[in-house]
Symmetry: C2
Subunit: 340 residues, 2 copies
């Protein structure tokens, strides 16, 4: 039994009871294959194993490395690479070795890449409103026909309504999701197949059109998603830091503290992290400077838990997660799906 004070900082912490609760809540809302958890949000096969144990044993991936690592961990039942890639040879090798790998295709070039790489199953990726990947809904049927004519099995469609994820008002969010899913279902009518895959943590309650939801962030959570008042998930992830310096208040200037958690251990695209009981001023490469509510409560050497604004790029910066029960480390998981 290790106490968190013995960990070298910065270190990723996963609060076991909050994490367990998050997984339970989602498995009740979307049991079995109605959820296809996205592993990009944690990049950790040991965490995926807990999702699979609750019945979520089909997964969404964003990179070839994630697909490879999941298959190597024995979690290769049904892996969807929800992203376009040009060189699929590594995926074809996984198919040869017995993993079930399905890839997203949104153009003739990607269909040919799947054939060339030895992948046998695809879904048609449809642009439902977020300007990123995905074919036009009216082109989906043609792409499916092309894929089938080239010997590929077409399992259905996917489309990510990413621009709806953090709309605060739930009714407005539902309305945008409905517009997106109307496009996806139109495409599905032309494409066929069993899969209508979409959604994320922000839309898992309101997306009633897709038959599987690609949520990932719900397991660990971040402060951006926590801004949605309707989400029941708690902050399971934090970055543990050590207070390395403090500057006492002087006339006109509040006191501040510095923790050894910075840009090299935090995903920053959603802005600054949060420190409960304080106001974060700014982050540097290896520092967060913040103003504690009560300066006298903070001393050099104290441990502090920093809540990242975006979980996905945060986990990509760490080699392991420490699972904690209170301040006791009860498990250690390798973040083993990093890289490409």
């Amino acid at each position: 039994m290790t106490d968190i004070r013995e960990l070298q900082t910065p270190a990723l912490l996963v609060d076991r009871s909050v994490f367990d609760s998050n997984l339970q809540l989602m498995s009740q809302a979307h049991p079995g294959h109605r959820l296809r958890p996205h592993v990009k949000a944690h990049k950790t096969t040991e965490l995926a194993r807990r999702q699979a144990a609750l019945g979520h044993d089909t997964f969404t991936c964003a990179t070839i490395r994630e697909v490879e690592g999941m298959a190597a961990a024995g979690l290769g039942n049904d892996l969807l690479l929800a992203n376009e890639v040009l060189d699929m040879r590594r995926l074809g090798q996984l198919v040869e070795s017995g993993a079930r790998v399905t890839v997203a295709v949104d153009s003739d070039v990607i269909v040919e890449a799947a054939v060339a790489g030895g992948v046998r199953e695809v879904v048609v990726d449809v642009n439902v409103g977020l300007p990123r990947c995905g074919c036009a809904p009216e082109d989906a049927g043609r792409l499916a026909d092309l894929a089938r004519s080239r010997g590929l099995a077409v399992r259905g469609v996917m489309g990510y309504e990413g621009h709806a994820m953090v709309i605060t008002d739930l009714d407005e969010r539902r309305k945008v999701v409905e517009e997106c899913m109307t496009k996806l279902l139109t495409a599905h009518a032309d494409v066929g197949g069993d899969i209508v895959s979409a959604g994320g943590t922000g839309t898992y309650t309101v997306n009633t059109w897709a038959n599987e939801i690609q949520a990932g962030s719900y397991a660990l959570m971040d402060t951006a998603y926590a801004a949605l008042p309707d989400l029941p998930f708690g902050h399971a992830l934090s970055v543990l830091g050590t207070v390395i310096s403090t500057t006492a208040p002087t006339a006109g200037i509040p006191g501040w503290a510095v923790a050894d958690v910075g840009l090299k251990s935090l995903g920053m695209d959603h802005g600054n992290p949060t420190i409960p009981g304080g106001a974060v001023w700014f982050c540097s490469d290896e520092h967060t400077t913040w103003q504690p509510e009560e300066f006298s409560d903070v001393s050099i050497g104290d441990r502090v838990r920093v809540l990242p604004a975006h979980v996905d790029p945060t986990v990509a910066l760490h080699e392991q997660m420490y699972v904690v029960d209170g301040d006791t480390v009860v498990d250690e998981w390798a973040v083993d799906l990093r890289g490409w």
Copy 2:
């Protein structure tokens, strides 16, 4: 000889001629020990070896891991950990094994940590205006006396004028640096020792008070520093991506393209990256969506060089850098100083 088209993307590229030019320019401006290059900006011992070969064989580090890795690579001549750490046992072991390691101290607690960890040399870290680490200038002499009374050698002072780095107007930047360095020299008068260490890429020309400059970004550069009109350094670093999807213009909506470079391969705290010849719209975990000036110039499968806004957190996301001469890969360097 590998062509960049054979690299898996995303991949860090270092343009050899621009990199060589950046190193030459800095070694002319600050020959020998007037520069103490900061390795946090590249985290790569093979790159540091090129700096040492040009006479810059004393280094600044931000983490214990950086100090350890530099010593292990035979670059442990004179390593300054310009940061406060509580547990210095790993540093003490390096000192035992023959590396020269000097650490920053800004409080009594950190002085005692140095003694306890077996470190023998320190500099006093002075707060010169950036609210982060560093003691008050008027407390520096007392801290130096304490350190000496505890058996430590005090080599001088350091103070980082980080808030001056990206002031666009050069005269204004010089003025802020002067205010900061006046504080540092006041502290130095009380502390003694040979070292007055400060500065960075943004202030290397105007900081005429420090006797060594801790610049790091100059070697690779990023778009944030490139906004300073007086810096002569070129963009040596880019993230190579592959165009994986394009959507043609339609009535009222411009066309866009998507590259496989996203939040997992870019430091985002300074904002979006730049793609020459296009306007970046947004980044997702594994994507950058951008609008090419000429849509017809971009095809699926094309390679594209994405310029990060901040070099330091970008390199921390990659396992290696590929050194290129045009489109030919001429060398590969491990980013071997990641982690803590």
